[in-house]
Symmetry: C2
Subunit: 335 residues, 2 copies
């Protein structure tokens, strides 16, 4: 079997998910998937003096839960990969001080979940390492003041706004056979359709998700019919609809497709505007809800396309449009 | 031959450097290595409306020079990896819009050069891709306002300050035999000795460089004597001296050691305080000056230990100390 990429994609044989840890915030707990998560916090400060420190504490919890399940300690993992939304990937970098193992920080905005899983999977598949821990987090209040305005300003939100999910997820990859494998990945390209509004991320990211999906299907000669479920990361209601239309215009039969930003919350009752976004959005839905269904064989194969808007607030202030990216991972129940 | 990591390190057999492109700023051009670089800019704005846009333009130039040397186009490269200092890795993300190939953004602060080369090398060694382009940049004025104060404030500098190098470097890795190979890498761990002063980076980063060097030597059973030259990224005068003392206290024989931050400038005459820092610092010295010497067999084997201070300005404002990391790559002239 060749390890070489086909276009932007590669199929994998020896990468499995050994364990996960999921921690969510108050609104995520009250959403339809609330009971799926290992732990929830009821207060955005989580006993810490700042939102950033609260986010890091959630991430530490997720990591500890993930390791405890497998009775492992920090030093039993060969390599740590992490991503979050803060300048400059703050939560994972500062948490990594406690870990004392090789660490790689990646940045893909809200696509960080699939990006870190994809990269970790490549390193396990190649045989460089046996165990890789991937970690992602986002926190509504820390992200709001990073990208938009401090929540205390009480700025009125636009109808197109998405709501950054509060949560942290750790996922342990291993070369040892487990119930679920990472079966294929597709790396994304940076796509920019000229959207400049930081309050309409779904619309900005839909073309990147479209590009990655089309590449995935073309590279591996697949379609929606090869999956029990295809989810995008956090396009939410507007973006999700746009992606569907883009695909249908290409005569793609869109079946069993949903968006994590629409699945994480009850959009008709919860105050999350168009739905969820943030690194934690696709990570919570995938590892909290879909991964257990793969373990139980209720799902056979799923495709997770995490989307990320790579904007820098500095460049938005300089009137630049928003670069976006999407990375895809295919997860499969092992026979 | 096993691909597996030995501790934090791995030796590689099939990764070569095919080409490079180096662009420097005005002070780097006037420094002792000025004639080594492919191109220099004489004005920090480089015809653009902002420092950030100028940095991106330099990066595009470096990429174009690197590709042109090999008569390649953007689409001939399988994968792009990039890193810079800006929130949120701005220069590479925004440039990647023009590239339309799979892209991975990594963040390691000033260690971004070695981190992206290390990661790219792993993916080439494994056979996933044949050609990987790594790109890093930093710009004195864009970094100053990102991490400290806008240059226009004219803040008085502390004696311990380093000077962010202005430059951009593209390095093309390939699986095809060339004159110089990436022979080994050591991934860093996040180390924090409790330093809180964002104007004394050398002191903060020295322990991370020490950790990576010690791991490298222990993992691969090597010493300074196995290299014609060992360079750290950007510890500059203070940090460079601290590292030397830390090593000597462990009875390590420190020979043929220098720091890129001290090599890039004439420290007795140029206004760069303790010396250079920034992603571009170790990248310019390595690819501008050392890589040609490896090609000409004037150097046989060198170790580059790029250091990075992973501070977030937000966390510094919250009185947190500075997490640091160092990644090492060993480059060797091919027989």
């Amino acid at each position: 079997m060749s390890l070489h990429f086909l276009g932007n994609s590669v199929t994998l044989e020896n990468v499995f998910i050994a364990s996960s840890g999921t921690v969510c915030g108050p609104l995520e707990y009250l959403g339809p998937l609330g009971s799926c998560f290992d732990k929830s916090i009821q207060d955005y400060h989580y006993g810490e003096k700042s939102f950033e420190k609260a986010e890091r504490k959630m991430l530490r919890d997720a990591l500890d839960i993930c390791l405890k399940r497998e009775r492992l300690k920090y030093h039993d993992v060969d390599l740590y990969l992490g991503s979050d939304l803060l300048n400059q990937i703050t939560s994972v970098n500062y948490l990594a001080r406690e870990i004392m193992k090789p660490f790689i920080g990646v940045y893909g905005a809200c696509s960080g979940f699939a990006l870190s899983l994809a990269l970790g999977s490549l390193l396990v598949e190649a045989g460089f390492v046996d165990r890789v821990m991937t970690m992602v987090s986002s926190h509504n209040a820390s992200a709001e003041r990073q990208y938009r305005y401090p929540v205390e300003y009480g700025v009125q939100k636009k109808a197109t706004t998405t709501f950054t999910a509060t949560g942290a997820v750790a996922t342990l990859l291993t070369s040892q056979k487990q119930l679920v494998k990472v079966e294929a990945i597709t790396l994304g390209r940076v796509i920019d359709y000229g959207q400049t509004d930081a309050n309409d991320m779904g619309r900005a990211m839909a073309p990147a998700a479209f590009d990655t999906l089309m590449n995935h299907f073309q590279d591996l000669k697949r379609s929606f019919h090869d999956y029990d479920l295809v989810v995008t990361g956090d396009l939410s209601m507007y973006g999700h609809q746009i992606l569907k239309e883009m695909l249908q215009r290409q005569k793609i039969d869109v079946v069993r497709y949903n968006d994590c930003g629409c699945m994480l919350y009850d959009l008709s009752h919860q105050p999350v505007f168009q739905g969820g976004s943030g690194c934690a959005c696709s990570a919570l839905v995938t590892m909290g809800s879909l991964y257990p269904q793969l373990k139980d064989k209720k799902l056979k194969r799923i495709l997770v396309v995490s989307t990320g808007a790579l904007l820098s607030p500095m460049m938005s202030a300089q009137k630049e449009s928003i670069p976006c990216i999407a990375h895809a991972i295919s997860l499969e129940a092992v026979e």
